[in-house]
């Protein structure tokens, strides 16, 4: 059983500026009203780790699972009986730069996590993408 959601927005911002927002830990909180802070333990590369603190919950350790320069950056948070993946992708299209943020919850307790945090996170996705692209435009 899985729960997934995503939101895509087209923008005139450059791939470089969006990528910089994603790969700069200090930019996560300004780009996501639900995030208090984030730190990376090392480079932004698959297998590397970091910590993120969301409002109202303890800091979580995460692992970068996919990092493709100017294309994708995914990370995963292990949960008891489940796994939360935060997905980011970029694609240049004839109409503009397509920026997608998504989330995927898997595991035996995915239904519970979907109800507890997944739907709320999903509702925030459009605002997060709006802020990422807005701040990227200003870069």
């Amino acid at each position: 059983m899985t729960f997934q959601a995503s939101h895509t927005r087209l923008t005139t911002a450059s791939p470089e500026s969006v990528w910089t927002r994603w790969t700069t830990a200090a930019d996560w909180a300004p780009d996501d009203p639900g995030t208090e802070w984030a730190v990376f333990d090392g480079q932004v590369a698959a297998g590397e780790t970091g910590h993120v603190k969301s409002a109202g919950s303890p800091a979580q350790r995460f692992t970068f699972t996919r990092v493709e320069h100017h294309a994708a950056m995914d990370l995963a948070i292990a949960l008891p009986g489940g796994r939360l993946e935060i997905l980011h992708s970029l694609a240049e299209t004839p109409a503009g730069l397509s920026v997608t943020h998504g989330l995927l919850i898997t595991g035996p307790l995915s239904g519970l996590y979907a109800a507890v945090v997944g739907r709320a996170l999903a509702r925030e996705l459009p605002e997060v993408v709006r802020l990422v692209t807005l701040h990227a435009l200003r870069a």
């Binding site: 927005r9 087209l10 923008t11 109409a95 503009g96």
Partner: protein
């Protein structure tokens, strides 16, 4: 003297005749639908009228633009049942109406999923539907008890005025889905977030429209029809009739008044008149220096009825391609920036035109973006509900009403919590020779073009009664 004879001008207080002061019976401030309607009615009864318009165009909150050979209404667009005054006026002026296209399925982008549906009830789940149903029932029920002309006299007026739409929804334990839907309604109806507007005004406004369904529906509702020649033509044709009585780029900066008349200053021009019609949004009354100052409640009104923020985006396509997919062109989205769309194609379907509304916080964010980013984000919203073809229009335009210097926002004023009871009594009550018009002052369909026309007609009646007490004036 017959009722059509010009009214003899009294010797008004203030400056002596001459010295470049033009003498008229009535100065109308603002050449929107309300002001022009008043001017037209007064002129028809033989009064000498000047309309001073600050902008370089007439129409107020109606405006037209041509995009790839197609006309689009940048402001007020639709008309519907019981909007009798705008329809009668448009008929008189020779405008034609046609039904807004609504055949096929509507689309909703809701919680990350795209769904098609028929009718007016979006598929948001049985619990969500039940909740929004009870909210609609309750708002309509409470609205029926509101004295729309004098909301301050309504039962529980102070209580409802102490609530915003948001706080009232919380008080009845509305579900998050209902908060989201009412946020979409608030953004496009009042150009504000539900937390910004007095719940008393919400009840009053919806009651004046005849209920939520009539206000929001297409067939049988306020979006039922639009004008083939565009709604701006109503103003344009009235202005053409009025000829050089309409003075463009003539912003009124001062009104010196006594009980007997007023001297109106508009840049280098000065007009001496028996009566003045101020047909501008309440907030814009503050730009005029009144001497003596208006009584305190009137000044408070100018501060407490701010304009909403509403923008519109139009994309023009070779064909209304969504119709081929069985879609009506009407969509709702909980994502934005565009939250509501309509098919605004010409009556013959010779082009496909999508109209998107962006209101409240979405408009605050979107208006601040560079034009290219606004375009791509609006098209992205269209594509989300109608597919990739929406990304490649022949033409695109947008209208940011908050950026209009002489309108200050739109579509209407959104009075804040706790302000309606204390200020509504002064919306249209004349002060000496000063009369008030504009859609906010209407007693029916406030916020709509019909309300603007009604307010202009009412202001004209007030003046005719005052200046021609023995003439027959329609009630």
């Amino acid at each position: 003297m017959t009722s059509t004879d010009p009214v003899p001008l009294p010797d008004y207080a203030g400056e002596a005749p001459g010295h470049g002061v033009e003498r008229v019976d009535v100065v109308v401030v603002g050449a929107g639908l309300a002001g022009l309607t008043a001017a037209r009615a007064l002129t028809a009864r033989g009064l000498a009228v000047v309309v001073a318009e600050a902008s370089d165009r007439v129409g107020g909150r109606t405006k037209a633009r041509e995009v790839e050979g197609s006309l689009v209404d940048l402001g007020g667009t639709f008309v519907g049942p019981t909007q009798d005054r705008i329809i009668a006026l448009a008929d008189e002026l020779g405008l034609d109406r046609f039904a807004t296209f609504d055949a096929g399925s509507n689309v909703i982008s809701w919680r990350g999923a795209i769904k098609h549906y028929r009718g007016t009830i979006p598929p948001i789940g049985p619990i969500g539907l039940a909740d929004i149903g009870r909210i609609q029932f309750e708002i309509d029920r409470l609205g029926r008890g509101i004295d729309t002309a004098h909301p301050e006299r309504s039962p529980h007026a102070a209580k409802w005025d102490s609530h915003s739409l948001t706080s009232w929804l919380r008080s009845i334990h509305a579900l998050p889905s209902s908060h989201t839907l009412m946020s979409i309604v608030s953004g496009t109806t009042w150009g504000c977030e539900p937390g910004e507007i007095s719940f008393l005004q919400v009840l009053r406004y919806i009651a004046m429209a005849g209920g939520i369904s009539r206000m929001l529906d297409t067939a049988g509702g306020a979006q039922e029809e639009h004008f083939r020649q565009g709604s701006w033509q109503v103003s344009a044709r009235m202005a053409a009739e009025l000829g050089d009585r309409v003075r463009l780029a003539t912003p009124v900066t001062a009104v010196d008044w006594t009980d007997d008349g007023a001297v109106v200053t508009a840049g280098p021009a000065r007009f001496r008149a028996a009566r003045v019609v101020l047909a501008v949004p309440p907030a814009l009354r503050a730009r005029i220096a009144f001497s003596p100052a208006l009584p305190t409640p009137y000044s408070a009104l100018t501060q407490r009825w701010p304009q909403g923020i509403l923008s519109k985006a139009y994309a023009v396509y070779e064909q209304p391609f969504w119709r081929d997919a069985g879609l009506s062109g009407q969509a709702l989205a909980d994502t934005g920036p565009v939250t509501i769309t309509f098919d605004a194609s010409p009556h013959d379907g010779s082009r496909g035109i999508l109209l998107g509304f962006i209101g409240g916080d979405h408009a605050r964010h979107w208006d601040a973006l560079p034009p290219a980013e606004r375009r791509i984000q609006a098209l992205s919203s269209f594509a989300e509900v109608f597919g990739e073809k929406a990304l490649t229009p022949l033409g695109f335009t947008d209208q940011l009403w908050a950026a209009e210097a002489w309108t200050g926002g739109g579509p209407t004023a959104a009075p804040a919590v706790g302000t309606v009871v204390s200020t509504a009594p002064y919306l249209r009550e004349p002060v000496g020779p000063l009369h008030w018009a504009g859609t906010e002052t209407a007693e029916a369909w406030t916020g709509f073009m019909d309300g603007a026309v009604r307010s202009g007609e009412r202001a004209a009646r007030e003046i005719l009664r005052a200046l021609r007490p023995f003439a027959e004036v329609a009630p």
